[in-house]
Amino acid sequence: MNVIVELEKPLVELEAKIDGLKKLNETQRVDFSAEIAALEAKARQLKNEVFGNLTPWQRVHMARHPRRPLALDYISALDGFTELHGDRTFRDDPAIVTGYAYLDGMPIFVIGEQKGRDTKDNLYRNFGMPHPEGYRKAQRIMQHAEKFKRPLVSFIDTPGAYPGIGAEERGQSQAIAQSLILLAGLRTPIVVNITGEGGSGGALAIGIGDHIVMLQHAVYSVASPEAAASILWRDAGRAEEAAKRLHLTSDELFEFGIIDEVVSEPLGGAQADATRVIADLLAADKRALARLTRLSADELVDRRYEKFRRIGSHVERVHDSAAR
């Protein structure tokens, strides 16, 4: 069960109550204004209590909230989105959505990792976990973006690349590795958005870019907390602890210089005001592209190289026998 959904239950009930009273207020003769005001104050307080200071684990669940906007919600908010399908080799992977659209008049290619809204949809989308053919579809779109000199905008939301038999047989490693090569050298601007879960290499495979935007309550980590706990301690049950240790929140990653910009969410998360959050994120993308499209392809690729070249945390060790 989603931790946030549990946590916000009293708030949801309270808001339902307020809504009910408001309807009564309109239709009945009795005036409930005072009661409504009191409940609204209480709701604000409760909201602050619930969302004011989320733990990393809670933020993981915020990123996985069943009502959180998904990649296609952002993409559909672009103008004239047209989906393009298929890797031309094996299969069209519904866990990755690709196509072209306009961002406030600017023609762009888009790639998004798409989770499902309900169980049936999630089975279709494989819970947003792409197979190699999904990444190979994305590679086609990357090449289109370069060929037709259109920026590329990606939306990351995946627990990770799918760990299954077919995925291994068809070269999950190879598919991700080739995506990384392509993005690193792509001669067109790339803006990356982390909107939900950014899980591991499966996220990074559409995550190398010139400007990396992250929603406040999105998470991005070297492995999902469950996988990390399993790797570190052979105990997926310690995921909460892993979430804390992995430094996967937007503020931490901004500090580390892993991401370039954080787009804030309303109290209650993106789903509390999806329209606003979607507009804010796309506005950030637009600002970034306005800047990036002024650079030459050579400059872009050189800067992108330097951007990732810098990321590290190591020192030259003074040699033990330096005194000799």
């Binding site: 760990p163 999950q172 590795a177 190398i208 399993s230 790797i231 240790r245 892993i258 590290g312 945390s313």
Partner: protein, 282 residues
């Protein structure tokens, strides 16, 4: 990014399970092998031919002509997340230094192979399961950049459980950093050859491991993206015979060849000569 599983693991005891430091148990057949003999036989089991894991220094001795010059030997992690645990990351690192005799999970340098000058990087599984953190990413990048500058082929021998959890996103970003280096290097028309040894999974597999022009899998190596444990937990069904073995990858078109340890240097040198020699028609 993924645990460091081996499809072989289930077939026998793991080397670490043998407390006796003079003897080692073959994971292939369970035979008790005298370590000194084993070292002389390239760590191939005398009974079943199984390829036991080989350390970075032994592998350099196996592949290089004897002229290996190490690059950036003193690079160490600065523990970006200040990771504490039952055993803090810094302490684990210190322990692995003693165990492996290395400062980090990869050794990189310049050498010749049958006379052909190359850049060579060799990973060592006994150091944090060969995981890639900041140091491994930096050393791979420096190696490839140096090869690009000198117009040399690059060869990397992988053995890795993936990205290093204890360095968090800094570790994941090493996939991006090394990939960018490989992209530039490849665009110069220079060859990258990888030799995937047991085990190669996760972030190393999903970056330079599978970005090479020629990919050689060592016999018996377990190679994949996801670790076996993760796959088991996800799909909860029986995995096919030999799943993620070198031979499995060959059949599924993922690697160019499977080579036994004793023939690795010959196979490598052959391609190096082929792409390096400036032969003209007679």
């Amino acid at each position: 990014m993924a645990p460091t599983p081996s499809w072989l693991r289930r077939r026998g005891a793991r080397p670490e399970a043998a407390p006796d430091t003079l003897w080692e148990i073959c994971p292939g057949c369970g035979e008790r092998l005298y370590k000194k003999d084993l070292a002389e036989r390239l760590r191939l089991c005398s009974r079943c031919g199984h390829h036991l894991r080989l350390g970075a220094l032994d592998r350099i001795a196996l592949l290089a002509d004897g002229d290996f010059q190490e690059l950036v030997p003193h690079l160490i992690t600065s523990d970006p997340l200040q990771w504490t645990d039952r055993i803090p990351y810094a302490k684990k690192i210190a322990g692995d230094r003693v165990k492996s005799g290395l400062l980090e999970a990869i050794v990189v340098g310049l050498c010749t192979v049958e006379g052909v000058p190359i850049g060579l990087g060799v990973m060592d599984f006994s150091f944090r399961g060969g995981t890639m953190g900041s140091v491994v990413g930096e050393k791979v990048t420096l190696l490839i950049e140096e090869c690009a500058r000198r117009r040399l082929p690059a060869v990397i021998v992988t053995a890795s459980g993936g990205a290093r959890m204890e360095e968090g996103m800094i570790a994941l970003m090493q996939l991006a950093k090394t990939s960018a280096a490989v992209q530039r290097f490849a665009a110069l028309g220079l060859p990258l050859i990888t030799i995937l040894t047991d085990p190669t999974t996760g972030g190393v597999s999903a970056s330079f491991g599978f970005q090479a022009d020629i990919i050689i899998a060592e016999s018996g190596a377990a190679i994949g993206f996801a670790g076996r444990r993760v796959i088991d937990q996800t799909i909860r069904q029986k995995l096919p015979e030999g799943f993620q073995s070198a031979q499995f990858l060959l059949e599924h078109g993922q690697v160019d060849m499977v080579v036994r340890r004793g023939e690795l240097k010959t196979a490598l040198a052959r391609f190096l000569h082929f792409v390096s020699d400036q032969k003209v028609p007679a």
